[in-house]
């Protein structure tokens, strides 16, 4: 949509890493192919999701306006970017930030992108990503190029992929950590990004690292793969490793991660992750999206059996030097401070301190293990920061620290390595841009998923409720009992739990209830989850309360806790003692909904004036589209044909012919991989296998044209190097187009005849060949 979109590629070509630049070119070409109707909408949906380009509420072209559901008449109404997803409808761009690590330049780029392509707001998620909303899909290639030029990729930010690898934001500076997990999280993110073994999952896959077992900053227990730093002594030497967990996850059916290995040596981290990925791709559910996460596979097999299969898989892996290469320069990534260590001047403690400083110091500052340094938390309300604030925050970071900035799973940003002597000045600078709010990690620091604001699956307004609670609790937080102040509140817009409500002391997720002829927004109250101990336990639902009564419910529950708790009794223990029946009784009178005539406010959600409806719910894209590896690779072959046509138009005949030939090999390789998933990209090998498995068996034969299209491939490869005149290149492109079409047909026939080793189109290494299937 931006008039400058056509110019960014050329402008940034030298600044982008070549591989990222090429990937974005490919993505842009895929968008063009979709515009031309040459890519199926389902394939494009998964393609864009794998680049973090996500759908948003109302992108089906319908919106409830309070009286009726109206059509949103977008200009390119017939064009879709996914099933029921209109091209022109605004969408979300998720931006992966591995372990939350950012530098000042990246903050500035994010600020620029937020104001030029989005709505001036950058949003930090509960998994340390950034999200920009209300983005036009036409702008996404430019946006990605600008990110790539600053060292950020959006690749695999959504879809059925390895999502952002998260880590405790205090890694390397926390006094309680065993060792700094940052380089391990970084290596894991890099190793798994785009890894061939991670391209055929039935659902997403999340990994997290923590430097300790006790805190909640890493939330290892709710991840598919979780690693907690541990050491042991062997042969008189300290050895690093990980307490290694698998199969955790929230969602509607939360699972605590299972211990896979109490001590996984550091050199085994990446190969084990690879082996798990292969097992997940091979044995994970693909058809039933509701049971496709790794947690179900681990649960179904049992962790012992799962471990056995993974270790067998591990034993078959060909050695990869990347498994341990990063271990040689662990120290190279160590952070340093900008300023010398200094103690906080006594003059800034107590009554003499500037207004607000004491409260901020108490809740937002954390002393590092390195004496004289601290981590300062920049509290972001609902995870939001304006582009102006982001740019000024970059200035502040430059003034006080180096590139030691991280996002947190609490939707905040931390500045590490602040000299403690600078804290008053830092506070003043943050406060001057509206970022000096105290209360980090306390009851007012509420996390919330996007909910009905932008998410297609949102039932109730999680952000609206969070904002309301934040406002009300902030007014009285300084008078609250310390035990209440330290509580965590987390809000999700629906049961899918993106707001991580299961691990909060007070969690809420959006539901609805019918009252008379109305639908009324409610929140299910989930109590007693534990954020500490890496999300140590999940809370239990206690009943649904009307959305507008939730603030009262919070005050009532916390009030009862303060009044009735025994000395040093935790909230979880208190709930246990109180019992579910008593808790329900406590909330009983809050469950009722006054009639619409008496109080119509109950029938609209927080921050919304429209009469509440569930009619705006859409099909979620969290699960992505299950597109098999074969379909992806056939789409890539089709893209190459298109690319060769462009080259021909540009007079690049040699390149055009070569690209057309390559597209045929790509398509042949896609089919061969049905039976040999690990076959390398070598053209001769692919041709040989294709001839044996598809030509000699006549599997590839067209019902009418027989083996004609396969002959195109064989002939083309004999003359792959050219030379190509315009005429020869043109002919080769025509043949390539027909060959790719024939490959699609062949794949379709195999599917129809149920001749694929797995219905999804991917195959285990030991899959039977079609001859025996």
């Amino acid at each position: 949509m931006k008039a400058s979109n056509q110019f960014w590629r050329e402008r940034l070509l030298e600044e982008m890493p070549a591989d990222l630049a090429r990937e974005i070119d490919i993505y842009e070409m895929e968008l063009e192919l979709r515009r031309l109707g040459k890519i199926d909408e389902k394939v494009l949906a998964e393609t864009r999701l794998r680049r973090g380009v996500y759908g948003q509420r109302y992108d089906n072209g319908q919106r409830w306006d309070g009286e009726a559901t109206r059509q949103l008449q977008y200009p390119s109404a017939a064009l879709t970017k996914g099933p029921s997803t209109l091209w022109d409808a605004p969408g979300m761009q998720r931006i992966k930030i591995p372990f939350g690590g950012l530098n000042v330049r990246q903050l500035e780029v994010l600020a620029d992108l937020a104001e030029e392509y989005s709505d001036g707001i950058a949003h930090v998620t509960t998994r340390q990503d950034f999200q920009l909303h209300f983005i036009h899909i036409d702008d996404t290639p430019s946006l990605m190029r600008r990110l790539a030029a600053s060292g950020i990729t959006t690749r695999e930010a959504c879809g059925n992929t390895v999502r952002n690898v998260t880590a405790c934001p205090y890694s390397g500076v926390c006094p309680d950590e065993v060792f700094d997990v940052t380089p391990y999280a970084r290596a894991c993110a890099r190793f798994l990004l785009g890894h061939p073994d991670c391209q055929d999952f039935g659902r997403k896959f999340k990994a997290a690292f923590s430097g300790c077992k006790s805190h909640g900053c890493g939330l290892v227990n709710l991840h598919d793969l979780g690693a907690i730093a541990v050491t042991r002594t062997g042969n008189g030497k300290e050895q690093r490793g990980f307490e290694f967990y698998v199969g955790g996850g929230l969602g509607s059916v939360p699972h605590q991660a299972k211990l896979f290995d109490p001590f996984l040596p550091e050199e085994e981290l990446l190969p084990t992750a690879q082996a798990i990925s292969r097992v997940f791709a091979r044995l994970g559910e693909k058809k039933n999206r509701n049971r496709a996460r790794l947690k179900f596979l681990v649960s179904d097999l049992g962790v012992e059996e799962f471990r056995k299969i993974v270790l067998q898989e591990r034993a078959t892996l060909a050695h990869d030097s990347r498994w341990t290469a990063f271990l040689k320069d662990l120290a190279a990534h160590a952070e340093t401070a900008l300023k010398p260590a200094a103690a906080l001047p006594p003059a800034f403690r107590g009554a003499a301190s500037p207004p607000g400083f004491d409260r901020w110091l108490k809740t937002n500052v954390f002393s590092q293990k390195q004496p004289g340094y601290a981590v300062a938390t920049v509290t972001l309300p609902l995870g939001d920061i304006t582009s102006v604030q982001l740019r000024k925050l970059a200035d502040i970071a430059r003034r006080f620290v180096k590139d030691t900035i991280r996002t947190t799973v609490e939707q905040n940003i931390v500045l590490r390595w602040v000299s403690e002597g600078d804290l008053p000045e830092l506070y003043g600078a943050l406060a001057s841009i509206g970022l000096g709010q105290p209360g980090a990690g306390t009851i007012v620091d509420i996390t919330a998923c996007p909910g009905t604001d932008t998410c297609k699956l949102g039932i109730a307004s999680s952000r609206g409720l969070a904002a309301e609670l934040r406002t009300r609790l902030a007014e009285q937080s300084h008078q609250m009992d310390q035990a209440v102040q330290n509580m965590h509140i987390k809000v999700s817009g629906c049961f899918n739990a993106c707001g991580q409500h299961h691990i909060a002391d007070l969690g809420f997720y959006g539901v609805s209830r019918h009252v008379a002829s109305y639908t009324v927004p409610h929140f299910q109250v989930v109590l007693g989850g534990r954020w500490t101990d890496n999300a140590g336990s999940y809370g239990l639902a206690m009943g649904a309360v009307p959305s507008k009564r939730i603030p009262e419910a919070v005050l009532r529950i916390t009030g009862r806790y303060v009044a009735d708790r025994r000395k040093d009794e935790s909230f979880q223990d208190f709930l246990q003692r109180l019992g579910k029946a008593e808790i329900k009784k406590l909330l009983q009178d809050l469950v009722s909904v006054p009639s619409h005539d008496v109080d119509p406010s109950f029938y609209a959600d927080w921050g919304d004036t429209r009469v509440f409806t569930l009619g705006d719910l859409g099909a979620g894209e969290c699960a992505g589209e299950v597109v098999s590896r074969v379909e992806f690779e056939l789409t890539a072959a089709e893209r190459q044909v298109f690319e060769s046509q462009v080259l021909l138009d540009e007079g690049e005949f040699q390149k055009a012919g070569e690209t057309a030939c390559a597209s045929m090999v790509q398509a042949a390789g896609a089919l061969v991989k049905i039976f040999l998933p690990d076959i390398a990209g070598d053209a001769d090998k692919i041709l040989g296998e294709f001839r044996t498995r598809f030509y000699d068996t006549e599997l590839f034969f067209d019902p009418y044209a027989g083996g004609k299209f396969a002959q195109y491939l064989f002939r083309a490869q004999q003359r792959a190097a050219g030379p190509y005149s315009a005429e020869v290149a043109h002919r080769r492109i025509e043949e390539a187009q027909l060959f790719v079409e024939a490959a699609y047909s062949c794949y379709g026939r195999l599917q129809a005849k149920r001749m694929l080793p797995l219905d999804s189109g991917s195959a285990p290494a030991t899959a039977a060949s079609p001859e025996t299937a």
Partner: protein, 192 residues
């Protein structure tokens, strides 16, 4: 230089009597009534951030927000879809759209006359750093069309144009005219 994605902000005369929550309902009503013939999509509530976009009406062609950036409340018009015509026409279109929205809000019964916009001052910025970097060259290329526009908005009045000096910010100017002008005055001047 191609001038696109023009943003215009007119400031509220007195923001103290206003609760931004009220604009959520007003903007939802605009969507329902399809005001202005534009495709209006959704309302985004950013009241929780300090000096931010406030309450925003998301549209396909443009966004409208009761914006608090710089701690000054105003109506911000953010043109997203590229426009046809020459630069002068594009600038005038953006200002006209912003002023029309201002007038609509001034006449909004729910606000009970509490919202008035200052016509003698506005901000204009170009929301595209590649097409319009914040440089003197951009200013030189942009200034003649801006002055033509200002002479229509403020006939026979003295006005100043000040460029945003932070090079990292988008190219933008603040225009201040001597004298008292309302949003309605400017709309009439623009149409005459």
């Amino acid at each position: 230089m191609e001038v696109q994605h023009v943003n215009v902000k007119f400031f509220a005369a007195d923001s103290r009597a206003l609760d931004l929550a009220g604009f959520i309902g007003i903007f939802n009503e605009w969507i329902r009534e399809r005001v202005g013939g534009e495709l209006l999509v959704d309302v985004a509530d950013y009241r929780h951030v300090s000096a931010g976009p406030g309450v925003m009406l998301i549209g396909h062609q443009a966004n409208y927000s009761m914006d608090e950036t710089g701690d000054r409340l105003g109506l911000l018009y953010n043109r997203k879809a590229p426009m046809n015509g020459d630069t002068g026409r594009r600038l005038a279109q953006a200002v006209r759209s912003a002023l029309t929205a201002c007038r609509r809000l001034e006449q909004e019964p729910l606000l009970d006359g509490r919202l008035k916009f200052i016509g003698s001052e506005f901000e204009m910025l170009l929301n595209d750093r590649l097409l319009a970097p914040n440089t003197e060259e951009t200013f030189a290329a942009f200034e003649p069309d801006l002055r033509t526009l200002c002479s229509r908005l403020y006939p026979s009045a003295v006005y100043t144009v000040q460029q945003n000096t932070d090079l990292r910010e988008r190219f933008g100017v603040r225009v201040k005219a001597v004298g008292s002008f309302t949003a309605l005055d400017l709309l009439r001047n623009l149409e005459s």
